[in-house]
């Protein structure tokens, strides 16, 4: 196939006049992907835990609220959620808030929207893990906490959640891996993370293979780093007899 390989193009200065090379753009994309992954995971952890507590709370209404959240965010494709956060949500909010959002620098705006979309999407999965993690604890834990005079909130905060998190740590860390890959969807609303840069480079350099190969290797590298990190965290936090296998 008559393809002219030209790896040198990656080290050429970019055509926009910025002081950067195309490889520099890819590295910037990698940083954005990493920042997006980390921020979205933290948000997902917070949202997922909050709704997970709602689902485990002994109240029909709370459970229904949590179940509705999970149903909405698990049964709509991620790209549709990205578009709704980006195009619909600013219109639904009060005009003043919507105008304020539109006044933010576009690149910041797209990043925040991406964190929200990925965070709430993944939060629905974490919510179910938290709920299952709490449900797996023996009833005696709640009874003992009540016997000690702990309030319901204290029971969750001091007794149930700490044990639950130890148990669900492996799935929680694999969500981190999943977010790093799902973050590529952010390129559809214009965030120049790794895959966004890959597409941009095709337009600028007309050397698609070089840019795709470098970006793919960057994703694989990120994957390996996250896997190592997961193993380390799981080793650090292992308690005898608590982690199952």
């Amino acid at each position: 196939m008559g393809y002219n390989w030209n790896w040198g193009v990656l080290l050429q200065p970019v055509a926009t006049g910025e002081a950067a090379t195309y490889l520099g753009w890819i590295l910037h994309g990698l940083l954005l992907t990493a920042a997006l992954t980390l921020s979205a995971w933290l948000l997902a952890l917070f949202v997922g835990t909050a709704f997970g507590i709602l689902r485990a709370w002994p109240s029909r209404l709370c459970d229904a609220v949590g179940a509705t959240y999970v149903s909405l965010f698990r049964n709509v494709p991620l790209i549709v959620q990205f578009f709704i956060w980006f195009f619909v949500v600013p219109e639904v909010l009060p005009t003043a808030v919507g105008d304020w959002i539109k006044s933010i620098t576009p690149s910041t705006q797209v990043f925040i929207v991406s964190v929200l979309a990925l965070g709430f999407f993944t939060g629905a999965r974490i919510c179910e893990q938290v709920r299952a993690g709490i449900a797996a604890l023996p009833d005696g834990q709640v009874q003992a906490a009540q016997a000690l005079g702990l309030t319901r909130l204290q029971t969750f905060r001091l007794v149930l959640l700490p044990q639950c998190f130890r148990r669900i740590l492996p799935p929680l860390t694999s969500e981190f891996l999943i977010i790093s890959k799902n973050s590529a969807v952010a390129s559809t609303i214009g965030l120049l993370e790794l895959s966004g840069q890959a597409r941009q480079l095709v337009d600028f350099t007309a050397q698609p293979y070089e840019s795709f190969i470098v970006v793919t290797l960057a994703y694989i590298g990120l994957n390996v780093v996250i896997l190592r990190l997961m193993e380390w965290i799981q080793r650090r936090s292992r308690l005898p007899g608590m982690m199952g296998a």
């Binding site: 149903s71 709509v76 219109e91 799902n182 973050s183 590529a184 559809t188 597409r199 994703y219």
Partner: protein
């Protein structure tokens, strides 16, 4: 702004219908091809042959490490060239559709391989030994004893994966293939009704996927009972 203009949707029914057809085609091809490819990979993974095991392991790791968006971009780059070089590209085929199908079949093979492998390894060793005692060949053991049981055990997970695939096909947006979602967005942009069209698309996906996952839950409970 939120008033859904039903007339404009009715007027656009052909475009949306064509999109639905694309979504369904990609989904069905991905499921069928993915199950076949996944079964082959899973058999490689549990076969005693070291080279086959390594191949399956490498394949699954590679495809699971790369985001679907990148895979779609890759295959939209490669598939047309391959078609042109080896098959003499016929102008009648939709390159985007074929590229998306190839990308999905190869990716879902990796996911189904993991599901099927887990299903096979979940069976007790006695099944293999009993089949061997009956004088079955390896192939007969797989076809008559192992795979039928493994498939039954993993049916709920496979169905859930099918729902995930149906949702993921919306990502063909990145190669401008006009599936249900892309066409809905296009009409919304053309008519200035992007907000209601997006909500409509979301509602449609939600209704279908939550209906299907409800069905999976019923099946699961019936199997457990």
């Amino acid at each position: 702004m939120f008033a859904l203009d039903w007339d404009s949707i009715v007027a656009a029914r052909n475009v949306i219908g064509a999109g639905v057809a694309v979504t369904l085609q990609v989904t069905l091809v991905a499921i069928a091809g993915g199950i076949v490819g996944g079964a082959v990979l899973a058999i490689c993974a549990v076969s005693g042959r070291r080279s086959l095991q390594l191949f399956a392991k490498f394949y699954v790791a590679l495809f699971r490490a790369v985001p679907l968006v990148m895979l779609l971009l890759w295959f939209f780059l490669i598939v047309p060239q391959v078609l042109r070089t080896f098959f003499g590209l016929s102008p009648s085929i939709d390159i985007r559709l074929v590229s998306a199908m190839v990308a999905f079949v190869l990716l879902e093979s990796a996911f189904f391989a993991e599901i099927i492998r887990a299903g096979i390894l979940g069976l007790s060793k006695g099944q293999f030994e009993a089949a061997a005692a009956l004088g079955m060949t390896r192939y007969q053991t797989m076809r008559l004893v192992i795979l039928p049981q493994a498939f039954r055990a993993m049916l709920p997970i496979m169905l859930t994966q099918c729902i995930v695939i149906f949702q993921d096909t919306s990502l063909v947006y990145v190669i401008s293939l006009g599936d249900f979602f892309r066409n809905t967005v296009s009409i919304g942009e053309r008519d200035g009704t992007l907000v209601p069209m997006l909500l409509l698309a979301g509602a449609a996906y939600w209704a279908i996927c939550s209906g299907l996952s409800g069905l999976v839950r019923v099946l699961q409970n019936r199997a457990a009972a």
